[in-house]
């Protein structure tokens, strides 16, 4: 029943949902960031280096990675967000590439293109910790690798649910309404007394924080990272989650990440054409349904019908 392969896919879905949220939050004020792969790599590398080289506990590494991504997000956001949206897209695209170049070239710290291996593993560390207290997987009728996969899945699921709960509350609050107002009409929002620059930097740096957080989790789930994990393609993939799933409702990126992570696994032969499909999705969605598959009217209809199931949305 507990298949480590399915659990692993489920864990990647959850990480991708967090990544999808990271770009959704930035998009919620109408800003497009193409640098989320860069922030992801900052989180991943910071946490990996702190745990491998300094020996800090994993939680401290993940927090430090997220925090650093957040701070750099503020630094990048301030000069670019005062201008119109395309500047941010270009500057963040450049930022992502520069971070990757930096990680490739800073060989003394990052081992360059080879990457960092032997990063403390989330599941294995948990298991080792529990075994010290006299626990063994067999007590639950599980093999060690099953227990490890299950632990990772449960931890990530808890984190994702907490994040979704937090952001659905946030978007229902005064702050969330300010985001929507800025997205709909920045000038009007400013005239209404909303501090647009503040909220734009807030959403951008929150997106950076989440991307860094997802990157740190990614590092501790896979145990190995290299600059090739954080290319421009990753940034586009993150963008596709939100654009396909829906960039105006919180469930959009969740659905996008779920659907687009499961689909290539189900259709193995398709993985070669994955980026063709991503590219086509971007163009077709912009032409026919720029708000994405899920939008508010559709969600209302699904809710009204009750038990119609989310899968009908595809």
């Amino acid at each position: 029943m507990i298949n480590p392969y399915y659990l692993q896919i489920a864990s990647f879905i959850l990480i991708n949902i967090i990544l999808g949220l990271s770009i959704y939050i930035t998009l919620s004020t109408g800003q497009l960031s193409l640098g989320n792969a860069g922030f992801m790599s900052i989180g991943a590398y910071t946490s990996a280096l702190l745990t491998v080289k300094v020996g800090l506990p994993m939680v401290a590494g993940i927090l430090a990675g997220s925090l650093l991504a957040f701070l750099i997000g503020i630094l990048i956001g301030i000069p670019t967000l005062r201008l119109q949206g395309v500047y941010l897209a270009i500057a963040t695209l450049g930022f992502g590439e520069v971070v990757r170049v930096l990680f490739i070239n800073w060989e003394s710290l990052t081992s360059g293109a080879v990457g960092i291996a032997g990063i403390p593993h989330l599941g294995r560390t948990m298991l080792a910790g529990l075994q010290e207290r006299g626990f063994s997987s067999e007590q639950w009728g599980l093999k060690n690798n099953e227990f490890i996969s299950l632990t990772i899945f449960i931890i990530l699921l808890a984190i994702t649910v907490l994040l979704l709960a937090f952001f659905s509350r946030l978007f229902a609050s005064r702050v969330g309404r300010a985001f929507r107002a800025i997205r709909l009409d920045e000038k009007a929002a400013e005239a209404m007394g909303i501090h647009t620059t503040y909220y734009k930097i807030l959403t951008f740096s929150m997106g950076a924080l989440l991307a860094g957080f997802a990157g740190a989790l990614f590092a501790h789930v896979t145990g190995y990272i290299s600059p090739a994990d954080f290319t421009y393609h990753r940034a586009v993939e993150i963008l596709v989650f939100a654009v396909f799933g829906g960039s105006e409702v919180l469930w959009g990126p969740v659905f996008g990440a779920l659907f687009l992570t499961v689909m290539p696994e189900m259709l193995r032969g398709m993985s070669e054409y994955r980026y063709f499909i991503y590219g086509t999705i971007l163009v077709v969605m912009m032409v026919f349904r720029p708000q994405g598959v899920l939008d508010q009217p559709l969600l209302d209809r699904l809710r009204g019908r009750r038990g119609g199931g989310g899968d009908d949305a595809a």
Binding site: Q84, A91, I104, Y232, V236, F276
Partner: protein
């Protein structure tokens, strides 16, 4: 040594300038960043490479072939990814950015499937020909690239300033609705702008192939990024800014590589973006405040 680097920098800069002109033309007329431009440039380089290495075509023919293919790609791009979004209610200004990102990803992978991964040699008969002026060695390739680039830039400037179509293009860039009221077929101007911009990308691709002697399917993104950095540096939509910005970036990169660390060459464009956004957000030649325009 210094003069050789200077010539290298100017050669590189003139290629950058042509790439940036492609961006700036489209931005000027459509207010759109064409994220697929770098990949169209890459296809131009591949077409040139195929013509030269398999059909042993002369450089001019390679340029012509690249122009034809990339112009056709520009036509398709406008038709499939830009026109359907235009005038659509509710489409945000990010829609065209996202759809051209989609096109760029499709093209990059198409090139991967068609031509394979890795570097492909770009053999030219005059790759090693050089002559010396004083103590400075000048490669024939550099002279050819410079001549083509300068001809192209002068031609484009003259066309924009004197020709009827060029004037119509500038009028459309100034204000699309007014131009349309004055009897300019703006739909056609938009198509021809994207086509001309793409063709310039194609030419730049062949020139890069000649300059570096190889092409690969990953070359679009870094070049595209540099083109974008240049138009921010020179001022969005400014033709002179694109040329000056291209030269500045080409020289800066060459001298950083010559006297510093070559690994960080690709980072210079990004640093330039951030610095210019901090001190002069409208760019060197830009006039309108970017905040006011949308």
């Amino acid at each position: 040594m210094f003069f050789e680097q200077l010539i290298n920098g100017i050669t590189l800069g003139s290629i950058y300038a042509i790439v940036a002109l492609g961006y700036t033309l489209v931005f000027g007329v459509l207010d759109i960043i064409n994220m697929a431009h770098g990949e169209i440039f890459m296809f131009g380089a591949f077409v040139g490479m195929l013509l030269i290495s398999y059909f042993e075509a002369p450089v001019l023919l390679a340029l012509g072939g690249a122009v034809l293919v990339t112009a056709a790609m520009g036509l398709l791009l406008e038709r499939l990814a830009l026109r359907p979004l235009r005038g659509k209610k509710g489409a945000s200004h990010l829609a065209s950015l996202i759809s051209t990102i989609g096109v760029s990803i499709i093209l990059e992978n198409l090139a991967h499937h068609l031509f394979g991964a890795g570097n492909k040699p770009f053999p030219t008969s005059f790759a090693d020909a050089s002559f010396t002026v004083g103590s400075t060695t000048v490669y024939l390739v550099q002279v050819i690239i410079l001549v083509i680039a300068v001809l192209l830039m002068v031609g484009l400037s003259l066309w924009l300033r004197k020709a009827k179509a060029g004037k119509a293009l500038r009028a459309t860039a100034e204000n699309l609705e007014t131009a349309s009221l004055l009897g300019i077929n703006t739909g056609r101007i938009i198509v021809s702008t994207v086509v001309v911009a793409s063709a310039m990308g194609g030419i730049a691709g062949v020139l890069v192939g000649m300059a570096f002697n190889y092409v690969n399917n990953q070359m679009g993104l870094p070049m595209g990024l540099k083109g974008l950095a240049i138009i921010i540096l020179g001022g969005m939509g400014s033709v002179n800014g694109a040329m000056a910005g291209g030269l500045i970036l080409g020289l800066a990169e060459t001298f950083v590589v010559a006297y510093g660390n070559s690994g960080y060459r690709d980072a210079i464009a990004f640093v330039a973006i951030i610095v210019i956004l901090l001190i002069r957000p409208q760019g060197i030649f830009g006039q309108a405040l970017p905040e006011a325009k949308r």
